[in-house]
């Protein structure tokens, strides 16, 4: 697929998202160029999935604007899917639904479509599973089937919410190769992830979110111990007595922090678990260009 020079950048201006008027993402402003590969990281309850939902168009902002996605086809892999794994359909039939933009509700399912399905299944390591019933797949295999369907969606913008949860290491590596190929093809990839070494190794840009944006930019500059410590101060429960937020951060101003952030609830968790060597300089060592 050729790169898409006409694709607009995704621009968030002072975006506030939330539930029952409580902000889950607070005053977020950023610009994602087309063809970027962005990781979204942060503690539980930081608003990562909420942000992805809003980008997918499933959640209307409480405040601020979100531009650059209207009219674009978006492929979205939600964290929790309503997929009925007991439905009597084979794996190829389930994955084929990713071709909806080509077949529609009535179009014929051709030999070419079938070949695309089998290629997508092979790309996620599910070759040989084409005619297996969906109910015979393991949790990880089911996630790979959802990923194959996502590949078939062939969309310019791909949103992933913890795509590698329950997927083994070998398959994760294969799927990361797919993500890099997408980026080379000029697609925009935004992924919520928890594995920081993986983010350092594969994602040129990172947004560190703790309800408020903590840091945004090249991954090595974002994933510092100081930033991570600030992110950990997130107070998870909503403040039921919270008043109306008057702040309306102008575009481009650095992120600010809430007044109640001085009461850390969580002990400081060091971000470099997994026996990963400490150090930030190597972060982009084998990652592709930051911006195209």
């Amino acid at each position: 697929m050729p790169s898409r020079p006409d694709t607009p950048a995704i621009t968030l201006r002072n975006l506030t998202l939330g539930y029952e008027r409580h902000p889950a993402v607070h005053h977020l402003s950023l610009r994602i160029e087309p063809g970027s590969m962005v990781a979204v990281v942060g503690p539980n309850g930081a608003g990562k999935s909420t942000l992805i939902k809003a980008l997918a168009g499933e959640l209307a902002p409480l405040d601020g604007t979100l531009a650059g996605l209207a009219g674009q086809r978006i492929a979205w892999l939600p964290q929790h899917s309503g997929l009925d794994a007991g439905f009597p359909i084979d794996v190829r039939g389930m994955v084929a639904m990713g071709l909806w933009h080509r077949t529609g509700a009535l179009g014929r399912f051709t030999a070419e479509h079938r070949r695309l399905c089998d290629e997508a299944l092979a790309a996620v390591g599910l070759a040989g599973f084409e005619t297996r019933g969906l109910d015979t797949l393991s949790g990880g295999q089911l996630q790979r089937a959802r990923f194959a369907r996502l590949i078939l969606q062939d969309a310019p913008v791909v949103l992933l919410d913890e795509p590698f949860a329950a997927v083994d290491q070998r398959t994760t590596d294969e799927l990361l190769t797919v993500l890099h190929r997408w980026q080379r093809e000029g697609r925009t990839v935004v992924a919520v992830l928890h594995d920081l070494p993986q983010v350092r190794a594969h994602f040129p840009l990172t947004l560190l979110l703790a309800r408020e944006p903590v840091a945004w930019g090249p991954t090595a500059e974002v994933l510092t111990a100081a930033h991570w410590e600030r992110a950990q101060r997130l107070r998870e429960p909503f403040d039921e007595q919270a008043g109306v937020c008057e702040a309306s951060t102008p575009v481009g101003e650095p992120p600010h922090y809430p007044d109640h952030a001085h009461e850390p609830r969580h002990p400081h968790v060091h971000p470099h678990a997994h026996g990963h060597p400490h150090g930030h300089a190597h972060a982009l060592a084998h990652a592709p260009e930051v911006r195209s």
């Binding site: 997929l83 359909i89 389930m94 909806w100």
Partner: protein
């Protein structure tokens, strides 16, 4: 009496049996596929709820126009669609889920129906509505039944993909297409018109049987949506025609015989079908190498 006489005699001899046969075939062809999708959407019990929801519409039609096919049909369809749309709107736009939302609406509708029938109707007419009149189907009723069958099969063919995806992964359907409401409400509308067709032939209480039982039985025999649709339709046809014959020869009421026949098929399938209980147990003693 030999076998062919037992099988064909009643239909050769009596016009009302030919009418009943045509009605039963129309009903089986249409209700069984609808039942398969009910099962796949995990809404089998919803069919029963809907059948009750139709009652006040049919009762109002009866009160205003007497035992008129058209009035009771239109009344039933209007009441059924009102409940389907009302509960669908609530389920899709509030925090109440589909089952609760439907229960609330159908109970309202049922209470209204019972009130109307007991204040104004008499119990003989009520028996017609509850148990159907398959042996008294006239030409107008047959035209109605076959029209409903035609509309149902055509609509199911047209909305098959969104409908399957709505059952398999509703979130994904909303992501790739705006057809989710069409699949949802279109299917509910099919459910309503098939229940109305069913209550003319089998009565409101039994109409659900010819939807739910063939689908549930087919699940024990085959895998895959297409195979389920064919198997369920075959079972429904066989049970409807068989039940009609048994009820004629034994002089029993038709609709309970048909539904009991379907129930028998269900129990036998559960026991002996390839995916039934006994086969599972036999398979449990050995396994494959890889």
């Amino acid at each position: 009496m030999n076998l062919s006489e037992w099988l064909f005699g009643p239909f050769v001899e009596f016009g009302f049996m030919r009418q009943a046969l045509l009605g039963c075939i129309a009903l089986a062809l249409s209700a069984a596929p609808v039942g398969v999708f009910l099962m796949l959407r995990r809404m089998s019990l919803m069919g029963d709820a809907m059948a009750h929801a139709i009652l006040p519409g049919a009762a109002i039609g009866y009160l205003l126009f007497g035992l008129s096919l058209a009035a009771m049909t239109v009344g039933g369809i209007v009441a059924g669609l009102a409940v389907a749309i009302g509960s669908g709107l609530v389920a899709r736009n509030t925090l109440i889920r589909e089952d609760t939302s439907l229960a609330a609406f159908y109970l309202l509708s049922l209470a209204l129906g019972v009130l109307i029938v007991s204040v104004r109707g008499n119990s003989v007419d009520l028996l017609h509505v509850l148990f159907g009149t398959v042996l008294a189907l006239d030409a107008a009723a047959l035209v109605l039944l076959w029209s409903i069958t035609g509309v149902t099969l055509l609509t199911l063919f047209l909305i098959r993909r969104p409908l399957i995806l709505e059952c398999l992964d509703p979130g994904f359907l909303r992501q790739v297409s705006g057809l989710s409401p069409l699949a949802h409400y279109g299917f509910l509308a099919l459910l309503v018109i098939n229940l109305v067709a069913g209550f003319h032939a089998l009565g409101t209480l039994m109409a659900v049987g010819i939807m739910v039982l063939p689908a549930a039985s087919a699940r024990f025999w085959v895998r895959g949506v297409g195979a389920l649709l064919l198997t369920a339709t075959g079972i429904a046809l066989a049970a409807a025609v068989g039940g009609l014959l048994v009820s004629y020869h034994a002089d029993w009421p038709t609709s309970p015989v048909i539904v009991l026949g379907l129930g028998g098929v269900y129990l036998l399938s559960m026991a002996f079908a390839p995916r039934g209980v006994l086969a599972q147990r036999r398979a449990g003693h050995s396994h494959l190498r890889a």
